[in-house]
């Protein structure tokens, strides 16, 4: 049906809105606020709470504005435009009535409810409700349901809006929550009270308009008005979800999503949501030096002295590996120090992926996250987006659901919450695809905007360069790279990776890469928050660990220089699309820990190679001067420069292997030291390992 504009009258004021608008949207377009509980922009319309009632002029009854479209409105008998009232006495009375009914069975336990202060029901009853209750009967009570380690339930408070049911079914794609029974006895539950098996399950906490679903780890911790809110960026994966970090004093108490249409819409993954629990555990808050095999607390002076001594040795035997959570500034400072010392063995790819060094398009998710919705065929190669970037997986599901996008997978045939064609398992299947005539290659070729999502995890093997070439070649041959569309998309798993590659944190002349450094022969290795490497391979080297958490790296380290976690310093991150975003400090570093860039600045002083910046602003100026792309805040390049991008000659020439392509992430909940320190995430991981044990009622 056409989406013509239509003139309607809202509270006596004329507005023109598209026919497809709901009355609720039309009222909003006219600047009216319509109270609602069940309606949510990103979910299907349920129309079951009735809070959004408005008066249609000429109609005998009020109408639910969320469930009626403008095109269904009736005009007046003499051709007058249709009219609705949102402020009339009838509407006021209707809202009061609905509110009163809702409160009949809602406990008045706000003082002990975690939602208090940010509860839709509370707010709307103040604005639209009556003062008192006329209900002297007993209220109904509902047994609480078990939903897993993240979602705490208080089901007596549920108002049956079914937002949680719709989210889990539609967005998360794991239909496990439902409403059983009916009428007064309706109850929200998971099947036999099993835990929800979604990486996005925490979002139901935000969606629930009342305190029925609240956050278990945050339970009874704080009231919203006590918290300081910092709008920042997530680093748990390479999506760069926009988040808000809430802290009280030195403690980060929770993480909530912020809306960014281009990135995370308004969802975040459970790992993002509960990383904060890991921020207070396993922290490195003092410098340590290893003495007789044991770590001993030391002063900064002593520690920096030891480091300076070790770093003034033979530059060709010194290496630096940057981990997954580093900001661009700290990598810049580390790289500048390495350059000053003549150290060329530096690498930001602790996973050993054979990527970077060439054009920027070669390692970006050029299709962009929002662009997924424009793609009409998607081939996923060597990636499990569900665990590597749950938010991106939700986007793929969204487009699969609404746009009939065809999806193919080369790699493990895992459950991605949408149907796909399993095109192959190994890089050989990828390389051979081009020559095929029928099957998925035809879908890709026929597609107007094909997208090839290449998991960075597929590039870590010997043949990584050749796989990159094969993927680029395929992208070029199916027309995924054209003037205004670049569907060649690399899916990174580390928040720091793209910025690292941008500023060239890569081996220089005669330098070793991660694999090289790990094959022995190094005297000193600096680990900049790098914990995902095989520490045993560093045998013989003096290991300096700069980071925030006592994880694998710190256990191996001979010297620990305690740094800040990402919530404790300002930093720049570029997500997998190459979108540069700013993270802001919410709390101060723990104990004696310092901001990471400052550690390298201090170290440079000791080494008489003082870095040319005294504060973060100066550092950033140098960073932007040397790497201008990092200055384009919140800009995803997408198809820019696609015309000059020669996809078929990226990577290296060579034979690809036929070992199955796995995912870079085997355990969604445990990908970095912060996540590993979080109890909530550990509980989720334990559940994933043994789902059967929980299933037993």
């Amino acid at each position: 049906m056409s989406d013509d504009l239509r003139k309607i009258i809202v509270d006596g004021e004329e507005v023109e809105v598209p026919n497809s608008f709901t009355l609720l949207q039309a009222a909003e377009a006219a600047g009216r606020e319509i109270p609602r509980f069940c309606y949510h922009e990103r979910l299907s319309v349920a129309g079951n709470c009735r809070m959004c009632l408005v008066e249609l002029v000429g109609a005998p009854k009020p109408a639910a504005s969320c469930a009626m479209q403008v095109r269904d409105m009736r005009g007046g008998p003499n051709g007058e435009p249709p009219a609705m009232n949102t402020l009339s006495p009838m509407v006021k009375k209707a809202r009061e009535g609905v509110m009163e009914f809702l409160l009949i069975n809602h406990p008045l336990d706000c003082p002990i409810c975690d939602q208090g202060g940010e509860c839709d029901l509370q707010d709307q009853s103040v604005t639209y409700g009556r003062t008192g209750s006329r209900f002297p009967e007993n209220k109904r009570a509902v047994e609480d349901k078990e939903m897993g380690p993240i979602v705490k339930t208080e089901m007596t408070r549920c108002i049956q809006c079914t937002r949680c049911v719709r989210f889990i079914t539609e967005v998360a794609g794991v239909p496990e929550i439902g409403m059983i029974g009916r009428g007064e006895d309706a109850e929200i539950t998971t099947y036999l009270e099993q835990a929800v098996t979604s990486e996005l399950s925490g979002n139901v906490i935000d969606l629930c308009p009342v305190g029925a679903l609240t956050s278990k780890p945050y339970a009874f911790n704080a009231r919203p008005w006590e918290l300081k809110k910092t709008e920042t960026i997530d680093v748990m994966d390479a999506v760069g979800s926009n988040i808000r970090v809430d802290n009280r004093g030195p403690a980060v108490l929770r993480i909530l999503p912020r809306v960014h249409e281009g990135v995370n819409e308004e969802w975040i993954s459970d790992k993002t949501r509960y990383a904060w629990e890991g921020l207070s555990k396993q922290r490195l808050d003092k410098p340590y030096v290893r003495e007789n095999g044991k770590l001993r607390a030391a002063s900064w002076g002593e520690a920096l002295g030891v480091a300076a001594e070790k770093l003034s040795g033979d530059a060709s035997k010194i290496g630096m590996i940057a981990g997954d959570l580093c900001s661009a500034e700290e990598m810049k400072a580390a790289k500048d120090l390495a350059d000053a010392l003549g150290v060329t063995s530096i690498d930001c790819r602790q996973d050993g992926a054979k990527i970077g060094g060439g054009a920027r398009q070669e390692y970006l998710f050029n299709g962009t996250i929002a662009g997924i919705e424009e793609a009409d065929a998607i081939l996923i190669v060597g990636a499990n987006p569900r665990t590597e970037a749950a938010i991106i997986n939700a986007r793929i599901r969204k487009t699969w659901l609404h746009n009939d996008t065809q999806v193919g997978v080369i790699g493990e045939p895992v459950d991605l919450t949408y149907d796909y064609e399993h095109v192959g398992t190994s890089a050989k299947d990828l390389a051979g695809l081009k020559k095929k005539r029928s099957g998925f290659i035809k879908i890709l070729k026929d597609a107007k905007r094909p997208m090839i999502i290449l998991g960075a995890g597929a590039l870590t093997g010997e043949d990584g360069g050749a796989i990159l070439r094969a993927a680029g070649d395929l992208a070029a041959s199916v027309g995924a790279v054209s003037e205004d569309w670049n569907g060649f998309s690399v899916l990174h798993t580390a928040a720091s990776r793209v910025a690292g590659l941008d500023l060239g944190f890569l081996p220089g002349e005669g330098g070793q890469d991660t694999t090289g450094m790990l094959s022995g022969g190094m005297d000193t290795v600096v680990l900049l928050g790098a914990d995902e490497i095989d520490m045993a391979k560093l045998d013989g080297a003096f290991v300096i660990y700069v980071g925030s958490h006592g994880d694998a790296g710190a256990h191996r380290a001979d010297l620990i220089l305690p740094g800040a976690a990402w919530t404790e310093q300002d930093g720049i991150f570029a997500n997998t699309e190459g979108r540069v975003q700013l993270a802001f400090r919410s709390v101060f570093p723990k104990g004696e820990a310092k901001e990471n860039w400052a550690i390298f600045r201090a170290l440079s002083d000791r080494l008489n190679k003082t870095l040319p910046y005294n504060n973060l602003v100066e550092l950033r100026q140098k960073l932007f001067a040397d790497t201008p792309v990092l200055g384009g805040i919140d800009h995803a390049p997408g198809a820019e420069g696609a015309a000059e991008f020669d996809a078929k000659s990226i990577g290296t020439d060579g034979e690809v292997g036929d070992t199955p392509l796995g995912s870079a992430v085997s355990n969604f909940y445990f990908t970095n030291p912060i996540a590993r320190a979080s109890e909530a995430l550990a509980a989720c991981a334990a559940l994933n390992d043994a789902p059967a044990a929980v299933a037993a009622e």
Binding site: M179, E187, Y191
Partner: protein, 221 residues
Amino acid sequence: MSVRRLAKEQPESFAFNKKSEAEIKFWLAKYPEAKKASAVIPMLWIAQKQEGWVSEPAIRDIATRLEMPYIRVYEVATFYTMFNLAPVGENLVQVCGTTPCMLRGAEDLISVCKKRIGKQHEISEDGKFTWVEVECMGACANAPMIQLANKDGDHYIEDLDAEKFEALLDDLAAGKKVKFGPHSERNASEPHGTEALTDPSLYDGSKAKPIKLPNTEKEEG
């Protein structure tokens, strides 16, 4: 109605028997493959007819066959009170307790149930009966009434009173066949004991003449 839950004790497994399979085939044939979830209510009913109740393994089995999430079938099974979520006795007595039946003596029937059978939803000691109170079954003209579900099918038994109902339960307990329909002189829902339509003014149109309503100016048609 009260909160409905699955029975605590559940069988290990569930499988449809041959007779049920034939019925399922009939029902599935009615819906296009992509919409086969529409068969969920018939499938649950067939499972109940086979076992007497709907067990948890049955819910899973039906979900798998209809390619539905378990929770969706669970929702349907708990929504409709016609599905028994726990085993019932040989005879399931559903007593209507809604207003018309109540006014005509449903409460007496319920006290008989309590006395003879025991608690609602529970199987009587001899295993012969379970009773539940249900809402209006649309036979109000023959109130009070019950619906009896046993191996002979589902049938209405109407125009009862405490005495007749007790006698009925005795017969059922003894394994005798009982009469379905009204337990009065009526055949169906015609008026009790009177001859109907004896006054011609009821059908000669004279009652449809315009009348003058009090306090109105105009005559209404």
